[in-house]
């Protein structure tokens, strides 16, 4: 708010393969959906400019490969992320269970300054499907247990809740970013902001 500068928010989407990470991103960025499954290889990002709290921010959304076989690629891009989106498939219980490890892994690899307060967003995808397995209650419960992670149930196919989910992501990221970004962009003001915002941040995170 203080700065009207254009900000770049780095968002990482994680989750098992096939949960719909790429579809969510595509739906959000390009408003497109394809029924065809094409495994993402490596990692790549799309960017989208959004208005968050009257601020124009550029979201750099990193879509990653959920498949194990791409572990031979490093995840250096985790570092400097402003928000992490954990995606699971509501019809696949395993994808929900692995959220834990995705979160852990992310925190270790990205090594954010304050791992406990790092903003995550959890998305249960494919709610358009009928054979839902992972209940809303269970997912919500898990999110609660992890420092009250915002939880959304979406359908990339039907474009349900996608916009809202990412809006939250942007907000969360912006909160995280304002801190980091100020460090980077305005070193002379860092001290002030830093002292001011740090306690505030911790409050907000709760």
């Amino acid at each position: 708010m203080a700065s009207r500068k254009k900000v770049l928010l780095k968002v990482i989407i994680l989750g098992d393969s096939g949960v719909g990470k790429t579809s969510l991103m595509n739906q959000y960025v390009n408003k497109k959906f394809s029924n065809q499954y094409k495994a993402t290889i490596g990692a790549d990002f799309l960017t989208k400019e959004v208005m968050v709290d009257d601020r124009l921010v550029t979201m750099q959304i990193w879509d990653t490969a959920g498949q194990e076989r791409f572990q031979s690629l490093g995840v250096a891009f985790y570092r400097g992320a402003d928000c992490c989106v954990l995606v699971y498939d509501v019809t696949m219980p395993n994808t929900f269970k692995t959220l834990d490890s995705w979160r852990d892994e992310f925190l270790i690899q990205a090594s954010p300054r304050e791992p406990e307060n790092f903003p995550f967003v959890v998305i249960g995808n494919k709610i358009d499907l009928e054979n839902r397995v992972v209940s809303h209650k269970r997912a919500q419960g898990w999110c609660h247990s992890k420092n009250n992670i915002p939880y959304y149930e979406c359908s990339a196919k039907d474009n349900i809740n996608v916009e809202q989910a990412f809006q939250t992501v942007a907000k969360q990221a912006l909160m995280q970013e304002s801190e980091v970004g100020l460090y980077d962009d305005f070193p002379e003001r860092i001290d002030l902001k830093n002292t001011d915002q740090k306690p505030k941040q911790s409050d907000c995170a709760c």
Binding site: F70, G74, D104
Partner: protein, 1029 residues
Amino acid sequence: MKVSTSNKSVKAELNESLSNVVKNLQQESSQKLNGNEHIQSESINAQQFIAVLEAAFIHGLKATYYEKKKHAKDLPKPQFWNLVSKISHKDTLSQAKNLKMIKTHIGLCRAWLRLALNDSALSSYLTSLLSTAEHKSILSRYYETFALFRDSEQADIFLRYLQGAENLEFQLACNSSVLNQWVRSPLEMAGIINPSLTRKPVQENNNFDHSSSSSHLPRPPSFHSHAGLNDSLVSSSSGSSRHDSLRTPLSVSPAISVTSERENFGTTIPPSIVSASVGTSAAIQAEGLVEVEPHIGTAPSTSPIQTDGPRERGSVLHSRHLMKRRRRIRRNQSLDFGSSGSTWGSLSSLSSNMSTQSSPQKELNNGKDSRSSSTSSNAALTSNSSDMSGQDQTEDTDTQKENTPINQIMSSSAPLSHIPAWRRHSTPVLGQKHKHLSRHHRHKVHRDITPDELKKGVSEIEVKRDNDGDESYQSPGAEVESTSSTLNPSQSEQNVDIASETELRTVPSPTQFVLDVETTVPYDPMSPSRRLFQPDYSPIEEGPDIYARAPSPSVATIDESEEYPDSYFNVPCTPISPGNSLLCGVGWSSEHPYPGRHSKDDDTTSPITSPPVSSTDASSVQTDGKLKLAIHREGYLQKKGETLLFWRTRWFVLNAETLTYYKDKNMEERLGKILLSHVTAIKDNEVKKNKSISLLMQDGVQHQIAAESLKLILDWAKDLKKVIEIASKEGEEYKPARHNTIGSDFEVIENSGTSDRFLGDDVSGSWHGSMMHHMTRIANEQGLDTQNYQCADCASPIGIIYGAPRLCTFTGQYYCPQCHLNEEHAIPARMLHNWDFRKHRVSKRSKRFLSQIWRDPCIEMDKANPAAYKFLAQMKQLLPLRQKLSSLQPYLLTCRKLTHTQRNSKLQGNSYMMDNPHIYSAYDLQRAQSSDLCDIIEKIVSFGVDHVRSCPLCSAKGFLCEICKKDEVIFAFDTDTTTQCEECKGVYHRECLVDPDLCPKCERRNARFRKQEEELMEDVSDDEDDRSM
């Protein structure tokens, strides 16, 4: 012993030549006024006959019956005395042993053969040898399976032909030291030695140039030379003139050229060719001389019959009879060197002439081509010696007297003033001190002649002298025909003109004469044969002067080999055909009508071999209704490497159906051969651009060759096309129906049934499976019995009577000659395990398979031969590179900033290398051996590393060391500073990860895994709860 693989053809040739010779013998004997006159050793037919018999006896003789050579250069010394002593009556044996001049086993064998012929017992011997069971075991002990005598069919034919000569009475000289050594012709006929390029294979009768000279004039079948002296003089002059020429090129005397052999005027061979052939024959003769054992003075003075081998005698005879026909000769003088020279060997004088006339001075002087020079000098020596001996014989004492006639003779053909000084002063010496003379000349001429040779030469002379005593000489000559005559009508006319000129006694001055000669020589800058003679020849250098004169004895472009393409190429060390010149000489017999214009000697019966096929002239001669190729060409060309696409200069030899290339013109190191019958097309669309043509092979391989000049390459292309055309025609005729290979890509399936039969127990699955099996395992020979004596491919019977099976090194199985063309290919398994990159003989099918799979990455080094990484420097070096490459793969494959084309252009089809660092294709191994692969991979790696570091997307996909948590992005390919966990692929600083087993990521993963298992049950119940809600 080098087993020539074209044993079949050798056998067939032997039979063919035997039949021809027997016919000629019968003709000869019928021509004799007195029917019961014996056939003597001098008879050219008899000599051929014996040579064929000798060849038959040594063909396929087991290597154990070869005597050791004293010198590497010696001829092989097969001897069948042991065999002979098994089958002959002891009286015969003792008779042979009692021959005083016979000192060696070889001599015994050869003498026995003659004795047997004299007794008319040879066919009986052979009959018993071939048909009685007891002897069959003997045969198998002495002869290889492919031997003529063990080929029941061919041996039978041989015997039949031999019986045709049964009623002839021979009176052959046996007691001669000449017999103690082999001469080349039988060895060549038997395919044991190959007529080398430098020494042209002499035909049996090569010595009898007089025969050629007589060919166009009706001549009494036998004439005894009283003119020996003159003849000898002439030849000596010719021989020595050469020496002279060495010193001063211009001193070449026309007399020389006049001397002897060129009477067959009408027979127009392009002089260049002729000269080359002449040179070679001379060389051969020289060789023959050397072979003669130097029993100086010991030669039987009594020998009423000609004692020595054909060659040695030849020159003498030649010289003796020469003079008689001198007039005739002179007419044709210089023009017709060719026919006589090419066909009949002992053109010593001619050859020397030729060399004087045409051999480039520098070559001789430089002596760079020591071989050729030495041979030529030998030739010269021969001629010298021969005439000396002749002289000796007639007039030992009165040398002075002789001297005059000589000079007169010489002057008749050439102004005396042109006679080289040496001759003038040497003639008087002749009678008195041969030794001195010859030595003297030798020294003058060639420094590189060793004293040994000299000695030999001298002894030779002596032997000759002794032998010359016989008066019973029968002239065989009438049958020489100038085959070449028909080839080039226009040329022949030219020659005739010149000839007539000479007839008019307008003897040209020496220099002029030379000029004449040169004009008759069709200038062909590309004539490879001539190039051969350029000691300093470099591919770039081509000039008229080089080519206009060149023939030297060594040229001898092997044309005989045409008929033996297989054997020609299958003898690895000496890449020259076993060239028993029989085939080319198809004929001594009159059966072969030569197309085209015939010279006046048409009426003579015996055609001789087509002249050494000219380098440039391609001609096919119709013989027996079968097209025989007479295309020969050789020279330096550039060849594009098949693996490394570099152009390299190679010495190419086009012969019959093969195009062989050697490292250089010495032809010691054969680098490859291209079977022209396998060429599907010649692409010359780029010929204008880079003077290159491409030969497309059946198996998809493409050979690109280029020449220095457009004309040269076009000429090559022309000849190649001719050969291919004819080859394909023949191929259609002779191709076995079941094995139609051309263009059948589906043959693998088609034939799989038959080949599966022989796969053996250890190999399961399809033909392809077994082939793949052999990719990494060296095949062992299983033995013919495991194949039921059938070709592993077409199942036609092999072995035993069907001829020698051919082993495919790749499969370890045996094949018939149709399925195994003796093609060569490197064997992947041998490369893999033995680091053996030599080419081995493989069957047709294996070859195709190999060339198909050559670039397929199907060898897993870590499984097939993990030790390679330990012991092979190249592999040791490759491993880390390949590992780097494979750790680069995910980046290079996933980066969208790297376009597909960019990537491919860098990888150049090597992308599989990134998948698995241990995977190789056979081609890779080959490249690895030469370190080429290393360079290639290094390039790819450095490209990849550069890209990854500079690309924001790729560097985002690097690793962060989660132990030290530094911000530095690290990569797996930074093998110096980082280490990668094999399990989870996590990358850490080398110093951070102290114990590779304590990878933090792996620990987390394991913990998670355990936790998951523990929670499995709870989860199930939770899910149920969820659902109920």
